[in-house]
């Protein structure tokens, strides 16, 4: 049994550490590296906590942590400020509403849910960008980013597994 079993969950552990890891991973994958003419993919690592935090438990801090993560993505990637913050909050809201339906399902089914939530987030980002820039982003580019982001489900699954039962008040 873990040490945290007898007390409330420390936000630094389930919010702070994943947030930091997302930032580090994002910076790593932004390196200008080309291998045989191909660039590195650019997955949205912040989708992992957006999905997992809502699955673990409802929280007041999580939406603001997501907002900060989104603002970081916008500024670091040079996109419109608020775009990813808003898109990630759409994902969080969707999981929060559907968490009763998702909880306890098999791993492949959860992966499908994660892909679905990621697709909704990308569509939200697509629409917000259309409204902000008054132009239509490339659907192919959106699809590639969706595809590489959907592959991140194992990390979200691990985060949910690690903290789903960690807070005694939610057992």
């Amino acid at each position: 049994m873990s040490m945290s079993g007898g007390r409330a969950l420390n936000p630094g552990r389930w919010l702070g550490v994943p947030m930091l890891l997302c930032i580090v991973a994002t910076i790593l994958f932004a390196a200008p590296i080309r291998i045989w003419g191909l660039q590195l993919p650019e997955p949205v690592f912040a989708m992992v906590p957006a999905f997992a935090w809502a699955m673990i438990r409802p929280s007041i801090l999580a939406p603001f942590a997501l907002l900060i993560l989104g603002l970081f993505l916008d500024i670091f990637w040079g996109g419109p400020t608020g775009l990813w913050g808003l898109s990630l909050l759409v994902a969080y809201a969707m999981v929060l509403i559907l968490r009763n339906a998702m909880t306890g399902q098999s791993r492949p089914m959860m992966w499908a849910w994660f892909a679905g939530v990621t697709a909704v987030t990308m569509v939200a980002g697509f629409l917000f960008t259309m409204l902000d820039s008054l132009a239509m982003p490339s659907l192919l580019a959106v699809f590639w980013q969706f595809l590489v982001t959907a592959l991140l489900f194992p990390f979200a699954h691990r985060l949910v597994d690690r903290f789903e039962d960690a807070d005694v008040r939610f057992r």
Binding site: A30, P63, L67, F76, W77, G78, P80, G82, T129
Partner: protein, 366 residues
């Protein structure tokens, strides 16, 4: 005093509801940020202090992360060049033989071009100064395509400067701090660049959409473009100078004309930032600010209107009248001034006489 011991300590609120309220507040803040964003403008204020600070912090971090990747790439290149030297040598020899023909042709064309320029008195643009930089970070998503370069305001870079690599145009600078600048790529959805088709001079606007091949919009004219046409900057609007290579035209799967960027054909490590602000810098400011101006001459109404025009063309001007007033030795106006309207009857003057006060056209042999 802890909250739980206060008068509101016993207040029980469902966590789901408080989480929902927090979610709505966070969403409202995000919408406010999105509405206030003005990154696509060329104004420096639009970039903001927060973005500048993040760029300054991200530069050394991303630079350190990018370094091992760069070294690995260099290592691979070294090993590959070691194993494929003979093949490379054969290829280079063939290329050299071909290039020699091109060199001879280029020299002939250069000579011809110089003669045409001299005949037409054409003024060509002076070379634009550049700053070299290394890319330390690169975003490639559908909603943002930017690069972070490790040169900033200390090298004279300002917002709006065009950015190239050795093959062609990459984008333009949208944010500058000390030691770092943010480059908006041609593929970004906020990017709009005035271009023209080299073959037909047809104008278009190159519009990014987050994909690798930006679109050509507002293309005008009858049959203005063909597959493979070279696309260059038009210089319209004064944001980028005319004639920078951009790419080759291709028809996309969606039936729209798109551009395969030349810049994508080479390494993305190094870029050149043109320190181009506007077309005013292409003029020679020293010439424009010359303090000695040619003397002002007024027309003599007696000779130009009231008198009878000379019947025959005037003979060639005498030698002293052909000397132009130079900037170094301005001629006193009195010496060349036309005669005032005098009581004496007007006499037809030789047509070449007023020429003595005018400077010859540029390029006229003295």
């Amino acid at each position: 005093m802890p909250f739980r011991e206060g008068p509101l300590g016993d207040l029980k609120v469902p966590l789901t509801w408080t989480a929902a309220v927090a979610l709505i507040v966070a969403a409202v803040i995000a919408v406010a940020f999105l509405l206030a964003d003005r990154r696509e403008t060329l104004q420096e204020q639009a970039y903001g202090v927060t973005r500048q600070t993040v760029d300054v912090v991200a530069k050394p971090v991303s630079g350190a992360i990018a370094a091992p990747g760069r070294w690995t790439g260099l290592g691979f290149d070294y090993v590959r060049s070691y194993f494929f030297t003979a093949q490379e040598n054969r290829r280079l020899k063939t290329e050299l033989a071909e290039m020699r023909q091109w060199r001879d042709r280029a020299l002939a064309l250069q000579d011809q071009n110089e003669r045409f320029k001299s005949l037409m008195g054409l003024r060509t643009d002076p070379p634009i100064p550049m700053a070299s930089a290394r890319v330390v970070s690169d975003s490639r998503g559908p909603f943002a395509n930017t690069r972070l370069a490790d040169a900033g305001s200390e090298k004279g870079i300002v917002v709006g400067n065009p950015v190239l690599n050795e093959r062609g145009l990459v984008g333009r600078v949208v944010g500058v701090s000390h030691g770092v600048s943010r480059v908006l790529l041609l593929t970004d959805i906020a990017s709009r660049t005035p271009v023209m088709i080299d073959r037909t001079n047809a104008r278009a606007i190159l519009t990014g959409d987050g994909g690798p091949n930006p679109k050509l919009e507002y293309l005008r004219g009858v049959d203005p473009i063909q597959q493979g046409d070279r696309v260059v900057t038009s210089g319209d609007g004064g944001v980028v100078p005319r004639g920078l290579p951009v790419g080759a035209a291709v028809k996309g799967l969606d039936g729209r004309w798109r551009v395969v960027l030349f810049a994508d054909q080479s390494s993305i490590d190094f870029i050149r930032i043109l320190l181009f602000k506007d077309f005013a810098q292409l003029a020679n400011e020293k010439e424009l600010q010359a303090k000695t101006l040619p003397p002002v001459t007024t027309e003599d109404p007696q000779t130009s209107i009231l008198s009878i025009p000379p019947a025959a063309p005037a003979p060639a001007a005498p030698a002293p009248t052909t000397t132009a007033p130079s900037a170094a030795q301005p001629k006193p106006p009195a010496a060349a001034a036309p005669k005032p309207a005098a009581p004496k009857p007007a006499q037809p003057k030789p047509a070449a006489a007023p020429v003595a006060t005018r400077p010859p056209p540029t390029g006229t042999p003295q």
